[in-house]
Amino acid sequence: MTTARAELVLWAAQRVTAVFLAGFVLVHLVTIVYAVRGGLTAAAILARTHASIAWPAFYALFVLAAAVHGAIGLRTIAAEWLGWRGRGADLSIAAIGLALAVLGLRAVAAVAA
C-alpha cells in the first residue's frame, strides 16, 4: 500500500470508528448515570452484563472501535506535537492499539463470564 493510500485508509477509519463511537459513548454515558444511582456494586454490574449477550457484544464492538480510533488519534498527535513519524512510530502506535484491544476484550470476557 502506498503511503498516500495508507494515510487515506487511516483517515477514513478514524471517521468511521468516530461515527460508531458516537452511538456507543452516548449509550455508555446513559448506562454510567443509570449504574451509579444508589452506588456501584459488582453484583449489579455482573447482573447487567450476564442478562443478555447483547451487552458483551456491544462492549466488544465498543472496545475494538475505541482501540482503532485511539491508536490513530495518538499517531496523529505523536506526529504533529512530537514530530514522531515513520515506521518506528507506526509500529509503536499499532502495538498500543493492539494492547488496548486485548486488554479491553479481556475486560469484556471478565464481566461476561
Binding site: 454510567i32 448515570v33 459488582a42 454490574i45 455482573l46 485511539g70 488519534g73 498527535i77 475486560a107
Partner: protein, 113 residues
C-alpha cells in the same frame, strides 16, 4: 493575524480540548480495562475494587472523566459536522454546544453519583 489572536478563538480551544480529552481517555482506558478485569478473579475482587472507588478523590476523578468523555463525544460530532456537512452559519455555535453538553453530562453524573 497574529498567532496569539489565532489561538484565542473558540475553534482553537475546541481543537485543544478535543486533543487533550482524547489523550486523557487513551491513558485512562488501560486502567479502566484492568479494573473490570478483576472480575476474572471473582465477584468479590471486583466488589473490593468498587469499594475503593468510593473515596472522594476517585469520585472527583470519575466526574472529570465523564466530562472529558462527553466533551470528546460532542467535539467529535462537531468535527464530523464541519468535515462532512455543507457549511452553515449554525456550525459556528457547535463549540459552545459541545461545552454545554460536557457540563450537562458532568452535572447529571454528579447528581446521580
Amino acid at each position: 493575524m497574529t498567532i496569539g489572536r489565532t489561538r484565542n478563538h473558540p475553534a482553537y480551544w475546541a481543537f485543544l480540548v478535543h486533543r487533550i480529552s482524547g489523550i486523557a481517555l487513551a491513558l485512562f482506558l488501560p486502567a479502566h480495562f484492568l479494573a473490570l478485569g478483576t472480575a476474572l478473579e471473582g465477584e468479590a475482587r471486583l466488589e473490593g475494587f468498587l469499594r475503593w472507588t468510593e473515596q472522594p478523590w476517585v469520585i472527583a476523578a470519575e466526574w472529570g472523566l465523564v466530562c472529558l468523555l462527553a466533551a470528546h463525544l460532542a467535539g467529535g460530532l462537531r468535527l464530523l459536522a464541519l468535515e462532512f456537512l455543507p457549511w452553515r452559519e449554525w456550525q459556528k455555535a457547535l463549540a459552545a454546544v459541545a461545552a454545554g453538553f460536557a457540563l450537562l453530562a458532568g452535572l447529571v453524573f454528579a447528581l446521580a453519583r
